[in-house]
Every structure is written in structure tokens, then in C-alpha cells.
């Protein structure tokens, strides 16, 4: 057991960052009352040469970027080690590197720190598979050296009852590219904070995500892209579907273009498909711009129901309503799911989406 000594200011729900999150359902992760175990459940499933995975004592690990998120502060105080995946400079890893977490129980929480580091001009795809029962607060940091290229796929396929809070913070240096594809389809409460900090010119990121919340599930994705240097490019595209009583999703897209960030090019998009009554999708894009010398900055957010014209068109060709809905929903997610680039995972997700839709009924 870790003994948490610091007195943090626990959120009350009135803070901007917490205003959508049902604090009562966090199991005490936010106010320090959660019982914390000593588990380290992350393991390397498939590696490659030029790739190392080790647990480093936090005293020896690089210190993480400051955060004002109380849960992450507690994680940093509680976790002794940092699970560190390193891809050496100039290494190109052809096959995806898979990290997995599974079935670690709901009795006590796990505080986990992860660091994924790419040396200069390294290139890799890392998939983080999350399955089983989770009571997890996770602080993940990515450090992308100049010219490196990382595709990061995180799959939240937790069992019902799971609670997962995580920060995914990417520090992207000159001419490096960070692409993340976040999939959240399982768990009772998932709150992810993907953030990107550009520290070198010519850096770029693409943050993609899909989520599907059904009865009683709460999924929050809260982005922050910090353009603090010139000539960086960011793209955000999250798509979600909701069905069933009490299904609730939150998407926040904060993009900050600082005065120094001339030549910034950014666009963020969130689209939600409401498949039944009783579900709620909150979507808040937010652009803060301190310089006018930019290439482009825009955002869009839509929340809608099935398009009658699309369903009519498909049905007029003999396709039954349930199949037409399935085609439209698969089509809706297709653009992002295909970006994962792994047929097995893509098929599994599409099947899962079919099932969620079928469960939701028509």
C-alpha cells in the first residue's frame, strides 16, 4: 500500500475540467479515498529488436510534464516504477508492438505510470490493449525525438464495472509525427485526457478516436493540443455513437495557439450519432488563438440522429431497417477504424459495434 501524504485539492465538480464527470462513480480516485494496490499489470506482448521494455524506478526515470490533474498527481506519488518502452534511434519497427493489460480486478486501484520513448528518426506502431476488469489511473507520457514517427492505438475494451482514468501526453519534437487512435467501447466509466505538446518546428499530430457508449456508460475524451512553436500541424477527429438510457459521452477539444506558434495549421472535428432516446453527448470544441499569422484553424462539432434519407436509400434497395442501420453505423466509424491498420482488431471492433447496435434495438 502506498501512503498518500500530500494534501491535494480534490475536485468538487465545479472545476471546468471536471464539470461533466460523475465524481461519485470514480471510486474515490479523485479524492484520495480509493484503496490502492501494488499491481503493475502492463506487459509487453510482442516486441522486436531495437525495442526494450523495462520497469524503471521513478527516481531514475525522466520527470514527467507537470499536470494540474489531481488524479495524475496522486498516480505520480503512488507509483514507484515507470513502465518504459524505448524504441532506439533510427529503428524502424515493421510489426506493431503490443502492450497489454488484462483482468486485474476491481478490489483496489492500480496507479500506473508509462513512458514511451522514440529516439530520433525511429518509427513504430504501438498498440495498447486493455481488457478485463479495471480500476485504473494511468499516466502515459510519450517522448518523440526529432524526425520520429509513432502511431499509438489504445483500445479500451474493458468489462462492465471498470473505471479507467488516464492521461496520454505526447511531447513531439521537430519534424516528428504523433498519430493516436483511441477506441473506447467498454467499461463503466472511462475518462481519457489525450494531450500533445509541440516542442519543435514541423511537428505534427493526428488524434483520432471512436467511442460507443450504451446504457449507463460514461466515456469522456478531453483533448488538449498545445501549439507553442511555429509551423506545427494538428488534426483531431473523434466519432461517437450512443444508445440506451443514461449513455453519456463527453468530448472536449481544447487547442491553444500561442503567440510564438506562427504558421500553425489545426482542425478538429467531433461527430456524434444518437441512436436512441435517453442518451446524451456533450461536445465542446475550443480554440484559443494568440497569433493571427497562421495557416488555418477550424473546428466543427455535430450531434445528430440517423439520417432518414440514407436509411430510405438503402431500404429502397431491399435492405432491411436493422441492416441499413448497421451499414450506416459501420460507415460512420469506418473512416477512423480503418486507420488502425490491423484487420483482426478492425473486424473485432466492427463486430462489437454491430453487437452494441443490436443490443440497443431499433
Amino acid at each position: 500500500m502506498s501512503l498518500l501524504t500530500t494534501n491535494y485539492l480534490s475536485p468538487t465538480g465545479r472545476e471546468e475540467a471536471w464539470r461533466f464527470t460523475p465524481l461519485k462513480r470514480l471510486g474515490g480516485l479523485h479524492d484520495g479515498t480509493a484503496k490502492v494496490g501494488e499491481r503493475e499489470s502492463l506487459s509487453l506482448k510482442s516486441g522486436a529488436s531495437g525495442v526494450s521494455f523495462e520497469r524503471i524506478s521513478r527516481d531514475l526515470a525522466p520527470s514527467p510534464t507537470e499536470t494540474d490533474d489531481v488524479v495524475m498527481q496522486r498516480v505520480r506519488e503512488g507509483a514507484h516504477n515507470v513502465a518504459t518502452l524505448t524504441i532506439a534511434a533510427n529503428t524502424e519497427v515493421a510489426e506493431a508492438i503490443t502492450l497489454s493489460r488484462s483482468a486485474h480486478g476491481l478490489d483496489s486501484a492500480e496507479f500506473s505510470r508509462v513512458r514511451i520513448e522514440l529516439g530520433a528518426h525511429a518509427r513504430a506502431t504501438v498498440i495498447m490493449e486493455n481488457t478485463g476488469d479495471a480500476f485504473l489511473a494511468e499516466d502515459v507520457e510519450f517522448a518523440l525525438a526529432p524526425g520520429s514517427n509513432l502511431t499509438f492505438v489504445s483500445l479500451q475494451e474493458w468489462n462492465t464495472g471498470s473505471t479507467h482514468l488516464a492521461k496520454h501526453h505526447a511531447i513531439v519534437d521537430r519534424d516528428a509525427t504523433f498519430k493516436s487512435i483511441t477506441v473506447t467501447v467498454g467499461g463503466s466509466l472511462v475518462r481519457l485526457l489525450p494531450s500533445v505538446e509541440f516542442i519543435g518546428q514541423g511537428a505534427s499530430c493526428e488524434l483520432l478516436g471512436v467511442y460507443f457508449a450504451t446504457e449507463g456508460q460514461f466515456f469522456e475524451h478531453r483533448m488538449f493540443v498545445d501549439h507553442k512553436v511555429p509551423n506545427a500541424k494538428s488534426r483531431v477527429n473523434y466519432k461517437g455513437a450512443l444508445a440506451g438510457q443514461g449513455a453519456h459521452t463527453v468530448w472536449i477539444g481544447d487547442v491553444f495557439i500561442r503567440a510564438a506558434a506562427e504558421g500553425t495549421d489545426t482542425y478538429e472535428l467531433n461527430r456524434n450519432l444518437l441512436l436512441s432516446d435517453g442518451a446524451r453527448a456533450d461536445s465542446v470544441p475550443n480554440l484559443e488563438i494568440e497569433t493571427g499569422e497562421i495557416v488555418g484553424a477550424g473546428h466543427a462539432s455535430t450531434t445528430g440522429r440517423f439520417d432518414d434519407e440514407q436509411l430510405f436509400y438503402l431500404m429502397s434497395r431491399g435492405i432491411e431497417l436493422a441492416d441499413a442501420r448497421r451499414l450506416v453505423v459501420r460507415g460512420f466509424f469506418n473512416e477512423i477504424v480503418t486507420e488502425i491498420g490491423d484487420a483482426v482488431i478492425q473486424d473485432r471492433l466492427m463486430d462489437r459495434i454491430d453487437n452494441e447496435l443490436a443490443k440497443a434495438g431499433s
Partner: protein, 250 residues
């Protein structure tokens, strides 16, 4: 031999300001092998007729009947009408993001035939149908109607007509927006479908040009929500010369 029979059809559209009556009693009978042209001014209700027969949810049937071979179509869901043998080539075909043409066609033909087609023969059928309409094979992997030009959408509609083999087809302004060559290619597709399946056609158009390729047996003038005159192919020539002045107004 099939017969689509429309009797006293009255239809209103639901608007924010309440229901507005559009069709005011339409009578029309279309048999296999026959071609009926409907011509009429903008807003007279031609598309409303087409959509109502196909079952678009926007319209409410307030009176009359529509049967196919004696079976009530109005009681059926949209897909059941298609399975009964009805096809609608739309004036404005709908884009379906993320759904490829080949997936769409395979799903449709599986639904209509009640079983999945044999992969090899089906791939050949699709290839032939696309070739016949001079469509690039790349369209098979594109999303349904997404980013298609106006003319490409119309070709895609007629390609479906040939592949899905309905008994009765309603073509709503399939000729609008087609260049001279495309008009011929698309018309030939309709004629092929007629010959292959003894298709009955209800062809809604504003122009006589398409009627040179697809010869109508009957021409109906549509105005103010009903058929106001009927004749043979010569009626179309007269309309082209004189317009609709004598039919509109009250």
C-alpha cells in the same frame, strides 16, 4: 407479367406548418414491358408520387391505393416494396459515407435474392454492369454516391437497376444533368433492363430527348398533383412546343 396499379392516390407532406396536400387523386396502371412517361411542371408532385410509391417516411398517404400484382404496397416497409419488385431511381441519389459501392450492392442483392450471391459470378456481374455503363471499376471501392458527380450518380442508379432486376422501375429525372453521351449510355441501360426482364417503366422527365431512346407507350401530363391529360408519344412533342400553360392555372 406484373401490374402496378395506383388508384385515387392522395398524399400530403408533413411540414412545420402542418400537413400540405400534394397529390390529389392519381390514377395510373403500369404493366410489365410498358413505358409510361410523366411530364409536368416543377413542383407539380412528380417526385412526391415516386417517393410515395417507394414508401419514403416524409409523406403520408391520405387516400387511395397502390398495389403490385394485387398486393397492397402501402402496407409494406420500404425494403418489402423493393423485394416485391419495385425500384426507384432517385432524382437526387443519397450519399452514404463509409459504405463502399461493392458492399452496398452485395448487401442489397443478398437481401433481394434471400441468399448471398456466389462470390465469383457476382464479381463478374458487377464488373459487367459497370462496364456497360462506362463506369470506372474504381467506383466499386468508393463510398456510395459520395463525391460522385451528378451524372455519375445517375449512372450508378441505372447500374443498380440492371443488377437488381426489379419488375417495375420508377425513374425520377434520370436524364437530368447527363451530357449527350451519358444520356445515350444510361438510356441504353434502361432499354437493356426492359428487354432482359420485361421491365415496366414509369419515367419522369422534363425533356423529350430521353424519349427518343426509351420510347414511351403512354405520356401523362402531371399538374397540380394529378394527371390532367394522357396520350401517346406525340403528346410529348406537343408539350415541348407549347409548354404547360393550358394545364396550369386553375
Amino acid at each position: 407479367m406484373s401490374t402496378l396499379e395506383i388508384r385515387g392516390l392522395q398524399v400530403s407532406v408533413n411540414t412545420d406548418a402542418g400537413a400540405v396536400e400534394i397529390l390529389k387523386g392519381v390514377d395510373l396502371t403500369i404493366k410489365s414491358g410498358e413505358t409510361h412517361a410523366i411530364m409536368g411542371p416543377n413542383g407539380s408532385g412528380k417526385s412526391t408520387l415516386a417517393y410515395s410509391i417507394a414508401g419514403h417516411p416524409k409523406y403520408s398517404i391520405t387516400g387511395g391505393t397502390v398495389t403490385l400484382d394485387g398486393v397492397d404496397l402501402l402496407e409494406m416497409t420500404v425494403d418489402e416494396r423493393a423485394k416485391a419488385g419495385l425500384f426507384l431511381a432517385m432524382q437526387y441519389p443519397v450519399e452514404v459515407p463509409g459504405v463502399s459501392v461493392s458492399n452496398f450492392l452485395r448487401t442489397a442483392v443478398t437481401a433481394l435474392r434471400g441468399e448471398a450471391p456466389k462470390l465469383r459470378t457476382w464479381t463478374g456481374e458487377v464488373k459487367d454492369a459497370m462496364e456497360a455503363l462506362k463506369m470506372d471499376p474504381a467506383f466499386a471501392t468508393r463510398n456510395v454516391n459520395e463525391g460522385f458527380s451528378g451524372g455519375e450518380k445517375k449512372r450508378h442508379e441505372i447500374m443498380q437497376l440492371e443488377l437488381l432486376k426489379p419488375k417495375i422501375a420508377i425513374l425520377d429525372e434520370t436524364d437530368s444533368g447527363l451530357d449527350v453521351d451519358a444520356l445515350r449510355i444510361v438510356s441504353e441501360g434502361v432499354v437493356r433492363a426492359k428487354e432482359a426482364n420485361n421491365l415496366g417503366v414509369l419515367l419522369i422527365t422534363h425533356y423529350t430527348r430521353i424519349l427518343r431512346y426509351i420510347k414511351p407507350d403512354f405520356v401523362h401530363v402531371f399538374a397540380n398533383g394529378k394527371i390532367v391529360e394522357e396520350g401517346g408519344a406525340e403528346l410529348a412533342e406537343k408539350l415541348e412546343a407549347n409548354g404547360y400553360a393550358e394545364y396550369v392555372g386553375s
